[in-house]
Subunit: 305 residues, 2 copies
């Protein structure tokens, strides 16, 4: 799957991923109204609204981008109907040939971590059948519990040729509270980065590992260091656009080959029609605004090379 992701990035010359993180407040009025008229003011109604919203954005952007990253929390907030919308989104994106990175940030230990890995990337045994649960291509994973939390994911990745992105340095303001603490003169995120490089050696693709990592666009100096610590690790970079990261700041995340990083934008793309820049499209044509924002983002990122 990492080989497929890299080859799609090269082919499209677009190291970008669209974050499908639909807040109900991003969804245009006409879609919400239709969904709530049909299903009532219920979780089902909300889930239908975000699914229709996603579908139209995917329909207008899938040919430009290698991958999407649905943030499961945005679906989980609507309970079971939300999870159904998440699964529909994953399946639909895969049917369009997109690589799906499930932003699930799961992490536990032993058999519990194995259960998450199986549920999101693998297949569970039921009688004589092996059945996929959510079936994303990649999942994001939290490293706080150590190797016991990561190894079960790597095992499933090997079986299914899938991958993970391990949180190393997150994009938020308070990420330094623990991640930046110095251990023998070296920040924790660097120690985690070294571990990611080590875990990555266990399952290498052609040029990059199936074990990737997450480093926020908001910390380019740290990105520079981490790029060197993990040369074979693909870096998923959130925080571009709405969170303040700019194209200039992204250069350190890439290797000399122009590969090694994939930049995420969520709100900046899916709610583009709300920006002054794309307001001309109007709420009716929100997905066209998203397409225009994707084109601009790709151009912006290409400009750094």
């Amino acid at each position: 799957m990492i080989n497929q992701l890299v080859s799609k990035i090269k082919k499209l010359n677009a190291p970008v991923v669209v974050g499908l993180d639909p807040m109900l407040s991003y969804v245009p009025e006409h879609i919400v109204t239709k969904a709530l008229n049909e299903y009532g003011e219920t979780l089902e109604g909300a889930a239908e609204a975000i699914w229709q919203f996603n579908k139209q954005i995917v329909d207008k952007t899938w040919d430009l981008i290698p991958a999407v990253k649905p943030q499961i929390a945005m679906y989980e907030q609507f309970g079971i109907p939300g999870m159904v919308a998440y699964k529909k989104t994953v399946d639909y994106c895969k049917s369009k040939g997109l690589v799906v990175i499930g932003d699930v940030k799961r992490g536990d230990i032993g058999s519990t971590s194995a259960a998450y890995a199986v549920g999101h990337l693998g297949k569970v045994q039921v009688g004589s059948q092996k059945i996929a649960g959510f079936d994303e291509d990649f999942a994001t994973v939290n490293p706080y519990l150590g190797s016991d939390g990561i190894e079960p994911f790597i095992k499933v990745c090997k079986e299914e040729k899938k991958g993970i992105f391990v949180l190393v340095k997150t994009s938020n303001p308070s990420s330094g509270e623990f991640q930046d603490q110095l251990i023998n003169g070296k920040p924790l995120y660097e120690l985690v980065g070294e571990k990611v490089a080590q875990w990555g050696m266990e399952y290498m693709g052609e040029s990059y590992s199936y074990v990737g990592c997450v480093v926020g666009a908001t910390y380019p100096e740290m990105g520079k260091v981490l790029r060197k610590v993990m040369p074979k690790t693909y870096i998923l970079v959130p925080g571009y656009g709405a969170q303040g990261g700019t194209a200039d700041s992204l250069r350190p995340y890439f290797n000399e080959d122009g590969l090694g990083a994939i930049v995420n934008s969520s709100r900046g793309i899916i709610a583009a029609y709300k920006q002054e820049k794309y307001a001309k499209f109007g709420a009716e044509n929100f997905a066209d605004a998203s397409r225009a924002a994707v084109i601009d983002m790709i151009e912006d990122i290409r400009s750094i090379f």
Copy 2:
């Protein structure tokens, strides 16, 4: 909710929680067969089997225990039908008056963390309605992303009078890889513990905070230190029984008042009928074996005072 938990623990004189973490391999043959006959070898069939298994265990133990802790990964591995079984389990346990600790180990930032908090502990706005998604009483939360990940949970806890347990020192062998690293001579778990105590001050119950923590039974020396660092924090203690923690090792987790900790056992209770000690019950009466194991566990833990 923390006041309710403490009062139930006192009333039953039982600082224990049963972990409802159903592996399909724990479920007796007759239940699995019946479920798969009805629903086929499908995710629905597996989900029905674990739900029936849970229900019988709850029916035989609810009067002895203050709380249950369903581990969501064990449900999530069965995709959407598994999540439905999780929700049914949560609702059923609440209908029996049990406090439900959702062992979800979620953690993200800002609006994403808020979405998890709303989905598991709060209510989401849909049109003019506010609707609960999963509606557990407590959730476990991962601290790696710092305060930005925790504060949205505390906000929802205040609105809903619910609580969280933040991972501090986990019970697994490799938990030390990051958690034990020394920062200015102090291990990371202690730094996280200090933060938990600080977060806890933001929302205090009568004698303990709505912000609890998780410290594994397998590290009693660290438990002793952390007890002092977080005097007003309830400690959820996994790792008793199957993972090797003994009653002797649990004393340091409690305060002088005999409160301040609640000990979890999962496999040791729900799969008790598979142990030699409880084999006499037979697979047909697996839930009676679980009841016997709960009684033994409570007696074992009372012995330390």
